[in-house]
């Protein structure tokens, strides 16, 4: 069953045509990678799904419903939860309060309490730091909190934007392991990443974006063998390597 469907999506940032005629499909239960260089349009695609950016034309269809142009709060209620680039946890709120904020759209209090238990079991560090300000967590711990917070809204689709960015190499492996574990939980994941190698290791399918267009799509094996990953990864026009320095805060 198709859970998310983008059809002929066009998005502009001012005069910059950031996403061009993008078609994309995510099936229920899949982990789909959206890979490409800096400025390829990955994050813009993500923002248009979330309703944070309005597409010029085209449609975003989720679970058979057209959700193009809806405000972010309504899109979340439809069952799409974002894990934003840079984690974006609420630093002055405690870990527990961050989790409760993730469930802002869930009205059943016992359900919220049960979910908090569930994700604290899944991420024991969150239970350990439950009453501390989230800003005091390390980068990797903040990423876990960001994922747990997104899961608190009981989404059907998790949108993850560059979850490995700025993390130390050891933590990057850990985060990708965590994402592949989402599959076992029955979660569907659309993963935006610059780390092509790791993404292809865990994804069912991937879309390779270059300058706002889908350059190639298919299974990781197809992409590895057929597409000139190196060229597209570095970008056709803008050659800009992703920062390799881990700046785990």
């Amino acid at each position: 069953m198709t859970l998310l469907y983008l059809s002929q999506l066009n998005v502009f940032h001012g005069a910059n045509h950031a996403v061009r005629d993008l078609d994309l499909q995510v099936e229920q239960g899949e982990i789909v990678g959206l890979i490409g260089a800096n400025g390829a349009g990955k994050s813009t695609t993500m923002m248009s799904i979330m309703g944070a950016v309005k597409p010029r034309s085209g449609a975003v269809v989720f679970d058979g419903q057209n959700i193009t142009g809806l405000p972010p709060e309504q899109i979340l209620q439809k069952g799409i939860a974002p894990v934003m680039e840079g984690r974006r946890i609420f630093p002055s709120l405690t870990v527990g309060e961050n989790l409760r904020m993730g469930a802002a759209t869930v009205s059943d209090k016992s359900l919220v309490a049960a979910d908090i238990e569930r994700w604290c079991d899944f991420f024991p560090i969150l239970r350990e730091r439950y009453d501390r300000p989230a800003g005091n967590l390390s980068g990797g711990q903040q990423q876990m909190l960001a994922v747990a917070r997104a899961l608190m809204s009981r989404p059907r689709l998790l949108l993850m934007d560059e979850p490995s960015l700025g993390l130390a190499p050891l933590l990057v492996t850990e985060i990708f392991k965590l994402i592949s574990e989402m599959r076992a939980l029955g979660m569907t994941v659309l993963l935006v990443e610059q780390n092509v190698r790791m993404t292809l290791n865990i994804a069912d399918r991937a879309y390779l974006l270059n300058l706002g267009r889908v350059e190639f799509s298919g299974t990781p094996d197809q992409i590895r063998s057929e597409a000139d990953i190196e060229r597209t990864y570095l970008g056709g026009g803008q050659v800009q390597k992703p920062s390799a320095t881990p700046t785990a805060s």
Binding site: A52, L76, Q77, R88, E97, A104
Partner: protein, 299 residues
């Protein structure tokens, strides 16, 4: 005995005035934290509640009812400000919002001037505002004790609201990262409206005691309170709720302290001395006494 009783009087007065200043400062900070708007029309909310006391006070209604109705008026006007004046400039620069707040302030003052009177009017006030009481042999003003209790109750209630309810958590989350708060499904307009409503509620509560103390209401009555609120929140740290409360109490202790212990002939320079102290504090700690533990997300 005399000096102990003086000291207790000083303590009660300072805590009562400081509590009110803290409430005033909170009314500014709660809106600033979310929208980066220093709402200088905040003083006019106090004016609105003051005229509420005057107008509803002419009826046969008991004063408590009159007071509640006046506070509600301040809340309604605060919500109206948000809807009509500030929502259209929400994504504009802080300067634009600041100028909008001056415009709202002037507009509301002019309305009061035209519809009511440019001259001070005295609303009906209950006798507690002039009574004194003797507690354990020490004479204190009843209104000071009431203000002290009311401010502590209000501060505690607000603290519980911000810590325990999802709306309160949303307010704090929005002060951290407004966009992300929307992305977890919180309605942006509702959060901002809540902040304005709380601002109006605090202004209304403060107005009861402020107007009660000076005994009259006039169109410019809100100027001094908004100035005090601004100074208190700047001293404490404009983006910190704790800072606003601390700044309010410091200013309260300073004001009453200077009033009590300054020699008679220097008393005219009380405000000048207080501002000098405030300037020194800001030179030492320009970001206020309590700076936010985590820098704000700018994205």
């Amino acid at each position: 005995m005399g000096s102990i009783s003086d000291f207790v009087q000083y303590l009660v007065s300072s805590l009562s005035v400081g509590g009110l200043y803290a409430l005033m400062a909170l009314g500014l900070v709660i809106v600033y934290g979310i929208s980066q708007l220093v709402n200088f029309a905040y003083g006019e909310l106090i004016m609105v509640a003051g005229y509420g006391l005057l107008i509803f006070g002419r009826s046969w209604l008991p004063w408590v009812i009159v007071a509640i109705m006046s506070v509600i008026c301040a809340v309604i006007v605060a919500l109206g400000m948000d809807q009509i004046a500030f929502r259209p400039v929400r994504n504009a620069s802080p300067t634009t919002m600041l100028i909008t707040s001056f415009a709202v302030s002037t507009l509301l003052q002019s309305v009061a001037l035209l519809l009511i009177s440019p001259r001070p009017r005295a609303p009906r006030l209950p006798s507690i505002f002039v009574q004194s009481a003797e507690i354990a042999g020490i004479r204190v003003k009843v209104v000071d004790v009431v203000a002290l209790v009311v401010s502590i109750v209000a501060l505690t209630a607000l603290q519980l609201f911000l810590r325990k309810t999802i709306v309160g958590l949303s307010l704090r989350a929005a002060a951290d990262d407004f966009t992300m708060t929307r992305l977890v499904g919180v309605n942006a307009n509702k959060v901002i409206a809540t902040a304005f409503a709380i601002s109006g509620l605090l202004a209304g509560i403060v107005a009861l005691f402020w107007i009660g103390r000076i005994g009259q209401v006039l169109p410019t009555v809100g100027f001094q309170p908004v100035l005090i609120a601004f100074i208190a929140s700047v001293v404490g740290g404009l983006s910190s709720i704790k800072g606003a409360v601390l700044g309010g109490y410091i200013l309260g202790f300073l004001t009453i302290g200077l009033q009590t212990w300054l020699p008679q002939d220097v008393n005219a320079y009380r405000d000048a001395i207080m501002f000098a102290i405030v300037i020194v504090m800001l030179l030492v700690r320009p970001e206020g006494l309590i700076k936010p533990a985590f820098s704000r997300e700018t994205r």
